[in-house]
């Protein structure tokens, strides 16, 4: 013991912990009171859990884009929300024409595959384009500079899509093949939800395998460790970065398709909220860490779905679901107070 307890713990630490403890107390008391009141059937919680997992899966796929790019370039790709939006927004047109011609109902698998591949390609394309135009020329600039171009690119893309395709809401046609539900422990689970959870899980495994098992994944990790050393070892850094953006973009595009299966409306502003949540999830899990992004997204999706009713209802807060996003951010603060680098993150040392 080099220092006494009093020297190690400052007043500020105590205050910070007090905030953390206050959050914890509110959550615990709220939960107990809600459960005591018996307002909700046990089945409701199970139902909300499944919905939360589906949402978490989507967040996880979007978060991959943030986390992969961050891992390599140490920058937040703020335009990722538009990368996410561009895929499903474009795919809506294809899906509508497929369902009108009856092709989708006749060959649901081929049709879905086509739509998915197309939207993943569009998203990947947008991501690569943004990298080429807005980020690559600024590789050596101070970190705030690419952040601002990212925000600019995000606005530009949002309104470019609005200009090209109009500002209305575009409904995604219902897919007959995915209608219906199964019964699980007395809870109705919809096929779309199952597809989303499974799809997200499969995609995560694929992404993890790409990063961990393939040659290009190895190159990505090398670049992320040390760009210059990687270049000296014969890795084409630019190509690896483009690939990273494409991979993150494609995964966001697929996330978009899954998202639109459960929430079948597309419009040019649709990317902002889910991407913000995915970004939160990536930070929650420890940004730059693939497994962390997945974990963070699942935790966030779950808490967001269950949280408002579980934590706030018992405290007598009217319309708890209005504060859903607030819960997500408070949880983020709570976790970062006790683990400042996120759940699975390593200690960051960055320099402005």
């Amino acid at each position: 013991m080099l220092r006494t307890w009093r020297q190690r713990v400052t007043l500020i630490d105590l205050m910070v912990w007090a905030i953390g403890v206050a959050i914890a107390v509110v959550v615990v008391v709220g939960t107990i009171k809600t459960l005591q009141s018996g307002k909700y059937e046990p089945g409701v919680w199970l139902d909300l859990t499944f919905k939360g997992l589906a949402l978490g899966g989507v967040y996880a796929l979007i978060a991959m884009g943030y986390t992969l790019v961050y891992g390599i370039l140490k920058m937040i790709n703020f335009a990722h929300s538009e990368v996410f939006m561009s895929g499903p927004f474009t795919a809506v047109f294809l899906a509508i024409s497929f369902s009108k011609s009856g092709f989708m109902d006749a060959n649901p698998v081929v049709g879905m595959a086509l739509v998915t591949i197309l939207s993943a390609a569009v998203s990947a394309g947008v991501a690569v384009l943004v990298e080429r135009v807005a980020y690559r020329p600024l590789r050596n600039a101070p970190r705030l500079v690419p952040l601002i171009t990212a925000i600019g690119a995000s606005f530009f893309l949002q309104y470019a899509f609005r200009g090209l395709y109009g500002s209305g809401f575009k409904a995604y046609p219902t897919l007959r093949a995915l209608q219906g539900s199964i019964n699980f422990l007395g809870i109705q689970i919809f096929n779309t939800q199952l597809v989303v959870i499974l799809g997200a899980f499969v995609m995560m495994v694929v992404l993890y395998a790409v990063v961990q098992r393939t040659k290009v994944g190895k190159a990505m990790r090398a670049v992320s460790e040390d760009k210059e050393a990687a270049a000296l070892m014969g890795i084409d850094v630019d190509r690896v970065i483009v690939f990273t953006f494409a991979l993150g973009g494609a995964s966001a595009g697929i996330a978009g398709i899954l998202y639109i299966l459960i929430f079948p409306i597309a419009w040019f502003y649709m990317g902002f909220i889910p991407a913000l949540k995915a970004f939160t999830a990536a930070v929650l899990g420890g940004i730059g860490n693939v497994a962390g992004a997945f974990l963070g997204a699942m935790v966030l999706g779950l808490l967001e779905s269950v949280g408002p009713n579980l934590f706030l209802d018992g405290l007598g807060v009217p319309t708890p679901s209005q504060l859903k996003d607030a819960i997500a951010f408070v949880i983020l603060v709570f976790i970062l107070i006790f683990r400042p680098s996120g759940i699975l993150g390593e200690a960051v040392t960055d320099k402005a």
Partner: protein
């Protein structure tokens, strides 16, 4: 691979790029929207200028880059223009075959007609190709004029377009200036400038750009004094609308000065700055609005509101002390959203008005003078800005300011040197919150109301962008950034629909071309310069040729 592509290939590439940009401008609906909007009455519309601009610009840039003999440069410009026309022609052709409109809403028959000069398909497309080749050549020709005249020419062109665009505004202002009012009908047509007016503006601004005067110091001083006087008289001269715009710009400058301390001085990236703006406005509302049983006056409520803001700055500061960079960004962003959600929520509706907001908020009154109208509030805002500038510039060179900068440059080293990062950071957040809160109270007073939807994430982004465009850490930069990013879009309200599109493009372009901002702080410019010196070692021509791909 080392060999440069021939100039013709470069020209074709650039042409295709220009054509794509033109096509996008058409498809965004900008051309059709401004089809009736004359810049010079009966001669050229804003819509035409918009789709010609990329061709003209790239023609010019190409001539500048390749630095060719006159005839060759003209030919290269023409080729660029021609190939940009090819893109548009291909689009028109496709539009004849398919109904593009079911996907691309702006691909209307009127657009095709406009692009082909209302001629039949084949002659129309040919005419368009010829016309765009001419525009490309004109762009190249601009490069051929001697540099000092060229600068004046470019300036004159920009001023003329601006004068045409701001026709309504200028003529409204001129009306109130008795003796010049008769000039209105001479200079302006019903839409845009008259030919004479355009020539007048062109020559005047061209001449001004051409003249270089060396003024003695005392003249400069007198002129600054005059400028200060005019600033004081502005609301009287400009009328309600422009005063309103100035107020809004002023509020953003005030917030910018505060955020400049947090981000520019201390290097803490705060994306939720709007929270303090909201807290200021809402505290003012709760304390002064009779609806919520507030009984205080503006001046009585102000210190309380500011205190609340400073305290909330501390509260935000506490949990984020250990976080850095991007973690800080997301947590502050979250804080901004939490505040907005809370003021919107039904839960706090009895105290904060919820969805219905707060109305009848008090405005400043001194003696018998009421500062409620936009024109009067201007003076209060100017006064507060001056105070804020004073505080900020004193802080910058103070011990605290240097501590902030030390933390910004390297937190670990700063800590090792014995800097108490805790109080330093908390003070930065609190000072920033103070300025934003001040802005918030004035905002509430200006509108005499506060609604949750005024406190969107977008406000934080606007403030952040303006200090970065102006030049991070630079106080005059904040003022310039505010005028450029908040004032200019308000003047060009016609473009409201394209505001964020242009805004986004400008942010990207600005960061690529001049990342240190319009009025850079000396120290930051130096840093960026270092980075540039490294970047320059890359082979130059290759990087440039890539620009067209």
């Amino acid at each position: 691979m080392q060999k440069l592509p021939s100039i013709w290939i470069t020209a074709i590439r650039n042409g295709l790029l220009a054509g794509t940009v033109s096509l996008l401008i058409c498809l965004f609906g900008m051309v059709m929207q401004f089809e009736q909007r004359y810049i010079i009455s009966g001669v050229v519309t804003m819509g035409q200028i918009l789709y010609m601009a990329p061709v003209f610009f790239l023609g010019y840039m190409l001539a500048r880059r390749l630095n060719l003999a006159p005839l060759k440069a003209l030919a290269v410009g023409a080729v660029t223009g021609f190939f940009s026309g090819i893109i548009l022609a291909a689009f028109i052709g496709l539009g004849q075959l398919l109904n593009l409109r079911s996907v691309l809403v702006q691909a209307s028959p009127e657009l095709y007609a406009l692009l082909t000069f209302n001629l039949d398909l084949i002659p129309g497309v040919l005419a368009m190709l010829g016309f765009l080749a001419l525009i490309g050549a004109l762009g190249a020709a601009l490069f051929l004029v001697p540099p000092h005249i060229r600068g004046a020419l470019i300036g004159a062109l920009i001023w003329t377009v601006m004068a045409g665009l701001l026709r309504d505004l200028i003529s409204t202002v001129m009306q109130t200036w008795g003796p010049v009012a008769p000039l209105i009908s001479w200079m302006f047509a019903r839409s845009g400038l008259t030919l004479i007016g355009a020539a007048f503006v062109f020559l005047l601004s061209g001449a001004l750009g051409f003249v270089h005067l060396k003024l003695p110091v005392w003249v400069v001083r007198v002129v600054w004094l005059l400028i200060a006087l005019v600033v004081l008289l502005l609301p009287r001269i400009l009328g309600v609308f422009l005063s309103d715009v100035l107020d809004t710009v002023g509020l953003f400058i005030l917030m910018g000065l505060g955020l400049n301390i947090v981000v520019g001085f201390a290097g803490l990236l705060d994306l939720g700055y709007v929270a303090f703006f909201a807290i200021g406005a809402y505290t003012m509302g709760v304390l002064t609005s009779p609806e919520l049983h507030g009984t205080l006056t503006y001046w009585e409520a102000l210190p309380i509101a500011l205190l609340v803001c400073v305290l909330s700055g501390f509260v935000l500061g506490l949990p984020v002390l250990k976080m850095r960079g991007d973690y800080l960004a997301i947590v502050t962003l979250g804080f901004g959203e939490i505040v907005r959600l809370l003021v919107l929520s039904d839960w706090l509706e009895p105290w904060l008005g919820g969805t219905q907001g707060i109305q009848h908020i008090a405005y400043p009154v001194i003696g018998n003078i009421q500062f409620g109208s936009q024109q009067m509030l201007y003076y209060v805002i100017i006064a507060f800005i001056l105070v804020a500038i004073f505080i900020a510039s004193r802080l910058k060179d103070s011990h605290l300011g240097r501590t902030w900068m030390a933390l910004r440059e390297d937190e670990d080293v700063a800590k090792a040197m014995g800097i108490n990062h805790v109080t330093t950071k908390l003070l930065a957040f609190a000072t920033g919150a103070f300025f934003a809160g001040l802005g918030g109270t004035l905002f509430a007073a200006k509108l005499s109301s506060a609604y949750p939807q005024s406190f969107q994430f977008l406000v934080s982004i606007n403030v952040l962008s303006l200090i970065i465009i102006g030049g991070m850490g630079s106080i005059p930069g904040v003022v310039v950034g505010g005028l450029a990013l908040v004032g200019l879009p308000e003047l060009l309200r016609e473009f409201a629909e394209y505001r964020y599109l242009v805004y986004g493009a400008v942010l990207v372009a600005m960061m690529l071309a001049k990342p240190e901002g319009l009025i850079p702080e000396a120290r930051r410019e130096l840093e960026l310069h270092e980075a540039e010196v490294e970047a320059v070692t890359e082979p130059e021509p290759e990087a440039q040729a890539g620009g067209g791909s």
